[in-house]
């Protein structure tokens, strides 16, 4: 693939980066928006045998380019699927171990990869009430590898989230496993500035790679807590022209990659 410099939005950058982490011959639990674009791009590039799973009870659909669903529970999401099942049952397949990757966004994330999509402020008297977990908590609890994608901003990367909707490594070290969550967990956090993993022991966020046009200082400036940094920090290859072309063919009207 060509790697000539091309212009792209933050959302396109995140979709490309997420797609690169989705290995072939796996299953991926996909939410609406950016995760959908990332999974489709992966199918059309590195991972043709990647199966998409939707919350509505949809197994291995073939989405039509330019006709992207607006929910994971509607006809466009179920197009040419191999199977439908109840919503409860699709999550039970995940709990059984059938889902290799879970893709999540976040309103807020903390240093242990805990996600808040419920409330800003107090739960019972919220300053801002957000839509809630949906399937995010279930994906974070039971898919084998969770990929979290969001824009890197200080107000989103906070020391402590106001509410833990979806579990990361909770309070670090062995706390996730001790709480009973013996499977899965966050694998990578992907932002417009870099890609982070988790320290093996402390389970704190650790910068592993930085985007082609970002700096480690920029990452620190936009994070509300102290980040660990890997010794062998990698520089990420920018989205290629091919990746961007395919992404724009999938979603020409930017239904999935709105804004940012």
């Amino acid at each position: 693939m060509s790697s000539a410099k091309a212009s792209y939005t933050k959302a396109e950058l995140l979709a490309v980066m997420t797609s690169r982490l989705l290995e072939d011959k796996k299953t991926v639990f996909v939410g609406i928006g950016l995760p959908m674009a990332a999974a489709l791009l992966a199918q059309l590039t590195r991972s043709p045998a990647l199966s998409i799973i939707f919350e509505g009870g949809i197994i291995a659909p073939e989405l039509k380019h330019g006709e992207m669903p607006l929910s994971t529970n509607e006809i466009r999401a179920g197009r040419r699927a191999m199977a439908f099942c109840d919503i409860t049952d699709i999550f039970l397949y995940q709990q059984r171990g059938y889902i290799d990757y879970g893709l999540l966004g976040a309103a807020q994330i903390d240093q242990y990869g805990n996600i808040n999509t419920s409330v800003i402020g107090d739960f019972h008297k919220p300053k801002v009430r957000l839509p809630g977990s949906g399937g995010a908590n279930d994906i974070a609890s039971s898919s084998t590898r969770v990929l979290i994608t969001l824009i890197h901003e200080k107000r989103r990367f906070v020391e402590k989230v106001d509410f833990v909707t979806s579990p990361g490594y909770l309070t670090g070290n062995n706390s996730r496993v001790n709480s009973g969550l013996i499977f899965g967990g966050p694998f990578k956090v992907i932002t417009d500035l870099g890609i982070m993993g988790f320290d093996q022991k402390s389970k704190r966020l650790k910068v592993e790679a930085i985007q082609s046009d970002a700096t480690i200082q920029q990452i620190r400036d936009n994070t509300g807590f102290e980040l660990l940094v890997a010794d062998n920090l990698e520089r990420i290859e920018a989205p290629t022209k091919d990746e961007l072309r395919i992404l724009r063919e999938i979603d020409p009207e930017k239904v999935m990659l709105r804004g940012t």
């Binding site: 919350e55 929910s71 999550f91 805990n114 919220p126 809630g132 609890s141 833990v164 009973g180």
Partner: protein, 321 residues
């Protein structure tokens, strides 16, 4: 643990409702008005079938609003525009759900934010699987089911959910309590007059809702002869004895989609969302005055117009063929 469960439900009481049901194979066709009058008193817990903007039992929701029900609890896997309507009509006390907004395309529901942030309605949030397992546990006639979901999070804490150490493995499991709705609302593609129900496409949580609920109201795109089911019983997703009322309502989930029948009307949702964004509760009340109060569901469809409804049928065919 037993004390806490007793606050949620009494197993003898919820089972007793089913034991006392008339299970005879008898006609149950009635009007929307009678179904709501008979089965949904104020204060009920109503489980809403379908999911977000798919197979929403819109016709029954409108009728609940027309009959000025109050103090309702609704539960739904993903809650959408129907809750905005019920909120503006002062019908809701509590919403039990995993996610609440009109839909991804329309951002966060202003109505939800206003009412929840002002403390005028309770938003009881569960994970999507946890809510599904709550219906399933009730559908099984038991009081809980184990899961890994919600462990270690604030969802576990705020819902005061019990954990156990599994007696077989020594691992911790979270026990979600059963959810026994008073009445379940299901919109389906086909039913017969006895209440046998066929659901095409996505089933969402409807089968579990039908088993979990004390009573079930079914609206169907078409009422078919019972031979339709007798000739091929695997079409029956919900059997007659679960169902208490059957109402034929073509386009009964509009503006939601109904699989293999019609697409969702996204412009209707957009107009509604814009009205709530610009005018808040007044926007919803204008909608209710225009389409619901003093109108029948057929009046509502007539205002939408046959042309638009035919377009939505064609749109559905284009997507799934």
């Amino acid at each position: 643990m037993s004390n806490k469960s007793a606050h949620l439900f009494d197993l003898k009481e919820v089972r007793g409702r089913i034991e006392r049901k008339d299970k005879s194979i008898r006609p149950k066709i009635m009007s929307l008005q009678d179904a709501v009058k008979q089965f949904i008193p104020s204060g009920s817990h109503v489980a809403v079938g379908g999911c977000l903007y798919s197979r929403t039992p819109t016709a029954v929701i409108h009728e609940i609003i027309r009959q000025k029900r109050a103090d309702l609890t609704i539960s739904r896997s993903l809650t959408g525009m129907e809750a905005d309507l019920l909120l503006a009509a002062s019908a809701l006390r509590k919403v039990v759900t995993s996610w609440w907004s009109i839909g991804y395309a329309w951002g966060i529901s202003r109505m939800m934010r206003k009412f929840v942030q002002e403390g005028k309605v309770e938003f009881e949030e569960w994970s999507h699987l946890a809510l599904g397992l709550r219906y399933r546990a009730a559908g099984m006639g038991t009081s809980f089911l184990p899961t890994f979901s919600m462990l270690g999070t604030d969802l576990e804490r705020t819902n005061k959910v019990e954990k156990i150490v599994c007696p077989y493995t020594g691992e911790k499991m979270l026990l979600v309590p059963a959810l026994y709705p008073d009445v379940g609302l299901i919109h389906a593609q086909r039913a017969d007059k006895f209440g046998n129900v066929e659901i095409n496409g996505f089933h969402f949580m409807d089968e579990d809702i039908a088993r979990a609920s004390g009573q079930v109201i079914v609206t169907a795109e078409e009422i078919v002869d019972s031979d339709h089911f007798r000739n091929q019983p695997d079409r029956t997703v919900i059997p007659f004895f679960c169902v208490d009322a059957v109402v034929e309502v073509p386009y009964g989930s509009y503006p939601s989609e109904c699989w293999n029948r019609y697409d969702a009307d996204f412009s209707h949702f957009s107009d509604f969302s814009q009205a709530t964004n610009e005018k808040g509760v007044n926007g919803v009340n204008e909608y209710l005055s225009k389409y619901v109060y003093g109108k029948s569901f057929q009046n509502f469809l007539d205002m939408i117009g046959t042309g638009r409804l035919v377009e939505l049928r064609k749109s559905m065919e284009n997507v799934i063929r």
